[in-house]
């Protein structure tokens, strides 16, 4: 009886301490709020995405499409799987893909001095996944892996000019004047 109570308490504590369907993405580079880079030209140079972060076939189906580019528009998609919404099973991570599209992989090379503007994060459970989840509810083992969550980062890639505009001094917004 004591063992059962101890087990129940331990399981409850673990569940309370754990969050469900946790998604975490580390962004490369520095987010500069002084400018939205709206006056810079889009970067149409061919992307030099490393082979290891590209996804095709079953990899793309299960882990998300990964990094892709259409002109200056770039997108990085990943899909995260959990068991019973608690235990992360597989992570089609987007961290490496984001580093690839920003160009942090090859500083000084073709990818040097780039920026991403209009950065948007989209998270969703796709309609197909929802339907699959409800259809598979009678099959507990299958439904336990659904629904997955698709995380997509989209942005416009721009080229940073060799000589940007000079630095402007900034002042705190709450500055008190006598």
């Amino acid at each position: 009886m004591t063992r059962f109570l101890f087990g129940t308490c331990a399981l409850s504590a673990m569940l309370v301490a754990t969050s469900c369907t946790h998604v975490e993405v580390a962004l490369p580079g520095v987010l500069d709020l002084r400018s939205d880079a709206s006056e810079l030209a889009g970067d149409r140079r061919p992307s030099t995405t490393p082979v290891e972060v590209e996804r095709e076939g079953m990899d793309a189906t299960f882990g998300g499409a990964g990094p892709s580019a259409a002109g200056p528009g770039v997108s990085v998609e990943g899909r995260v799987w959990w068991l019973a919404s608690f235990f992360r099973l597989a992570d089609g991570g987007v961290d490496e893909g984001l580093r690839a599209v920003l160009g942090a992989h090859a500083p000084g090379g073709n990818n040097a001095s780039r920026a991403l503007r209009n950065v948007v994060v989209t998270e969703e459970i796709t309609g197909a996944e929802s339907i699959a989840f409800y259809c598979l509810l009678p099959v507990p083992c299958a439904a336990a892996f659904l629904p997955t969550r698709t995380v997509r980062w989209t942005a416009t890639r721009v080229v940073i000019p060799v000589e940007p505009v000079p630095v402007e001094p900034t002042a705190p917004v709450d500055e008190v004047t006598p």
Partner: protein, 152 residues
């Protein structure tokens, strides 16, 4: 049958629990560690509730951008380094979602990082640091703990 087919098609084509949040400014790869000075820690936490299995309650695009800008501007800083984006459903929220069969589903979004001053040249474009004046007037900014003292 047509209605069911139409409904299925709609559900399949659209997503649920859809979050769409913009980040202000530009993400740069040319700012070196020597070009930044840390002035504080960024910790933005926003909770959003979805309804009816996530079909109702799409997030506003300024969900993360507005509080992020506000915290950076309150420090008189220029940007954020080491940005980490997180989203999760707490255990209580998960229980609530399960008990209500998805009719009421809260989810928490968090952005952490280091608030920094940037010495690297500014990129051409509009500033992303302006805070929505209307929100400030309503007094729901939650920044009451930021106090600036000046002695004469």
């Amino acid at each position: 049958v047509k209605c069911v087919a139409l409904l299925l098609a709609l559900v399949t084509l659209s997503g649920c629990y859809t979050t769409r949040a913009e980040l202000p400014g530009a993400l740069r790869n040319d700012v070196k560690p020597a070009d930044i000075e840390k002035v504080g820690a960024l910790d933005v936490e926003v909770e959003h509730t979805f309804y009816l299995h996530g079909f109702v309650g799409t997030t506003p695009s300024e969900l993360l951008a507005a509080p992020l800008r506000k915290q950076v501007q309150a420090r008189g800083a220029d940007g954020v380094a080491n940005v980490v984006y997180e989203s999760e459903q707490g255990c209580g929220d998960f229980a609530l979602t399960t008990c209500t069969l998805g009719c009421f589903a809260p989810r928490t979004y968090r952005v952490r990082g280091d608030i920094v001053r940037i010495r690297a040249p500014r990129l051409p474009g509009r500033t992303a640091k302006l805070v929505d004046a209307e929100r400030d007037d309503r007094g729901d900014d939650g920044d009451d703990d930021v106090i600036v003292a000046q002695r004469y």
